[in-house]
């Protein structure tokens, strides 16, 4: 049956007639102006260049734009902190980001992000799915989307790796209609997934024997039968073995003290090191999540504690990506599900603010040192053209070499745009 619950192949195949007659609807919109390019265009862009990768830093709960990328010192809602000059002439950011201030010429900041949802429960998935038009299907999160659109890198590493606090494992619930195959391999506390290591007492030869014998049994079974399931099964074994063969990657003893200090001996710092190693090993999309950014109370001392840790970790990874040249083909994104309210509540906190906030992004050919858009004098609303998350998705897909306006997912016969149809790539950011 259909793997995705909300819309299925038959539904669309059988209904095509109706749509072509001109029926319009929330779901029907998908069928209008279909451009069947498929995904091959996305792959063609890759050629023999180094594979494009993504480093996605997620500050869960909501980084305050005013205490980070869009400070408004000396205004009513500006808060207590100062703004500091950066390596980009004319660009000032909050004093809590002294390290990034020295590196802003490598990246860009979009200050005119304006999105729709001010609750976490709805806002997080909306943002991470790019808030596409409702077509009755559950869209994948960005990591799953990139895993699908670009596939794994030639390295054979799982395409979507998620470094997070807490527990890890294979987390497939965010893959949406793409199915569990495009879920994330989560490294809880940066550690390898459960069962990655083979039993200690099992000689290499026995491990080899086991698979040889397993394939022998499968060969017998497949003869004269539908082989699809066997193929899928073999693929999973291939992935598992590829991962097992890289278990040294997870060996923490190979991280030097110097490196640990440089990234900061904090949760996000140490996780960022793991993330960089995953990128170097060839993971397509690596997400680093930091929890605890929902500062409805004591926002300012909270940001004073949180932001410098993020600043240091991000600056360190950017240094390394620059030094290795990987920044040329590594897309960097650091963001939350929304910003925080300009007004300061009685708990000296800031609440959720999707109206006007900032996203840091760069690498992979994005305009260096760019400042896209602006908020008004008090930082309340966007005064330039507002960009929704859909615009950012278009931009990021484009930077990754995917034609975001023509590429579509093939959801069991239902073509689906990969980003919101009414949005488009941000030209100034693409350069």
């Amino acid at each position: 049956m259909n793997r995705h619950p909300r819309c299925n192949a038959e539904q669309h195949r059988l209904s095509r007639r109706r749509v072509l007659q001109g029926a319009l609807g929330l779901c029907a919109g998908a069928w209008w102006g279909l451009r069947h390019r498929g995904l091959s265009a996305a792959f063609a862009a890759e050629g023999k260049e180094p594979p494009r990768q993504v480093l996605f830093v997620w500050l869960d709960g909501g980084l305050s734009q005013l205490e980070s990328w869009d400070p408004k010192p000396g205004t009513q809602f500006g808060g207590p902190f100062r703004a500091i000059a950066t390596s980009v002439p004319g660009l000032h950011i909050c004093e809590l980001l002294p390290e990034m201030a020295k590196r802003m010429h490598h990246v860009a900041v979009v200050r005119s992000v304006s999105t729709k949802d001010n609750s976490h429960s709805a806002g997080v998935p909306r943002i991470l799915r790019g808030d596409p038009k409702n077509r009755g299907v559950v869209y994948p999160y960005l990591g799953s989307a990139v895993a699908k659109l670009l596939g794994p890198c030639p390295s054979g590493m799982p395409p979507y790796i998620w470094v997070k606090p807490g527990s890890g494992g294979f987390i497939d619930k965010y893959a949406g209609f793409l199915g569990p195959k495009y879920g994330a391999l989560a490294l809880g506390e940066g550690r390898p997934p459960q069962n990655l290591l083979p039993p200690k007492d099992l000689p290499e030869q026995d491990l080899h024997d086991r698979h040889r014998l397993r394939r022998l049994v499968n060969r017998h079974f497949v003869a004269g039968r539908n082989a699809q399931i066997n193929d899928a099964y073999e693929h999973a074994y291939h992935m598992a073995q590829a991962l097992m063969s890289r278990r040294k990657l997870f060996d923490e003893s190979t991280i030097s003290d110097e490196e640990r200090d440089r990234y900061g001996r904090t949760q996000i710092g140490q996780h960022m090191i793991v993330a960089r190693r995953m990128l170097e090993a060839g993971a397509r999309f690596v997400q680093v999540t930091s929890y605890g950014w929902d500062t409805h109370g004591d926002n300012f001392l909270a940001h004073r504690s949180l932001v410098p840790k993020f600043d240091r970790a991000l600056a360190a990874v950017i240094d390394d990506l620059v030094a290795s040249g990987r920044i040329e083909h590594t897309l960097i994104i650091a963001m939350s599900e929304f910003g925080r309210t300009p007004r300061i509540n009685g708990h000296v906190g800031r609440d959720h603010w999707p109206e006007a906030w900032s996203v840091l992004t760069g690498g992979c050919g994005l305009q260096r040192g760019a400042v896209i858009g602006a908020t008004d004098q008090q930082g309340v609303f966007v005064k330039t053209e507002p960009y929704d998350i859909g615009h950012l998705f278009h931009t990021w897909f484009t930077a990754l070499g995917i034609d975001s306006q023509h590429t579509e997912y093939d959801n069991n016969g239902q073509p689906l745009p990969i980003a919101h149809d009414d949005c488009f790539p941000i030209k100034e950011l693409l350069g």
Binding site: P165, R304, G346
Partner: protein, 388 residues
Amino acid sequence: MTTKPEKKAADAAEAFRQRWTPKLTGRLEPDRQIARLRFTPCGKFLLGGGYDGTVWRWQYEEPPQEENAKQSEGKSRRRGVPEAPWRPLERFKSHGGWVTALEVHPQGGIAFSADSWGRLCAWGYEGPQEPKPRWQQPQAHDGWITDMALSPDGRHLATAGVDGTVALWETGSGKLLRRLEGHGGSEVLAVAFHPRGDAVVSGDLFGRVLHWEFPSGRKVRELDASALYKLHRLQDCGGVRVLRFAPDGKRLAVAGTRPNNGATIQGVPTVLLFDWESGKPHAELSLGPKNECFVCDLLFHEAGFLAVATSGTPGTGRLHLHREGEEKPFFTARGPINCHALARHPKWPLLVVAGTNSGSNGNGRQLRNGKYVGNHSPLFFFQWASEG
């Protein structure tokens, strides 16, 4: 079955409660948020450090008789509380960021204020015109000056900063006497002078309270208030937010929150009372549920109670009057919420507390008449019965 001595004690407690239960008598409505409040020694001026980077000034004005009558008719009353008879004057505007530290010279005439951008100013607060600084230190600290304290004789000033230092200044000249660097770079959030004038204490984010000899600046000892700190996820939460000596100098109140979690921070508003001699805590006051969170300001009343301003989740946080030795506050004011600052009048039985307007929080676009409006700190004037 209560025994006689118990009943006697209960009666005494009740008498104390009645004697020191204040009445809400007036209210002011500055349109910005206020972080600190101080009366001047003459009692004629009230100063308030604001989130708008200014120091607010109000001057007492004896209300004319007919005005009193009018007020009782409810003309300028707000929720049944008359406007307090304090007239706003031009503000002191030499600051940036937030003015989060404020003191007045004990002999009067000069106020000292400091802001979150590191500037320290001394200025005359009297007169109707906009005050100008007598002296100022634009870089007294690298960044946020969180607190200040005056020596009892008014000759010296100690400031605390998130740069991890405590600075000692001559109040007359604004000259830096000494910079104390014992907090290992951790944010110093509170500072106090011992009433004898021979010691300064400073408290940091990690709950360390350092005792410095004054004026030498020698570090004497460290008091442990680490109960007021917690690392939650990535966030260092809590810290020593308030330091106050009892008037007799025998006890030190170290206050903040016992943090439960970060982000939307929660914790029990807590005052740890240290015995100054031994450096050991001898009592702990828990002033509310964990959503009430922080003790923001505190003062000792010589009648034997503490006035404490707390603030937590919007809508919580109160003015509490807590008699030392008792389990619970004997008075918790109903009106003000999210209280951030306290000041006691030098002559009259008057206490003012800065609260926050209700409905101060909320996600997303909330416009009032099409405008995006910030929050403010209503000031509540509480009065005790006069002596005798």
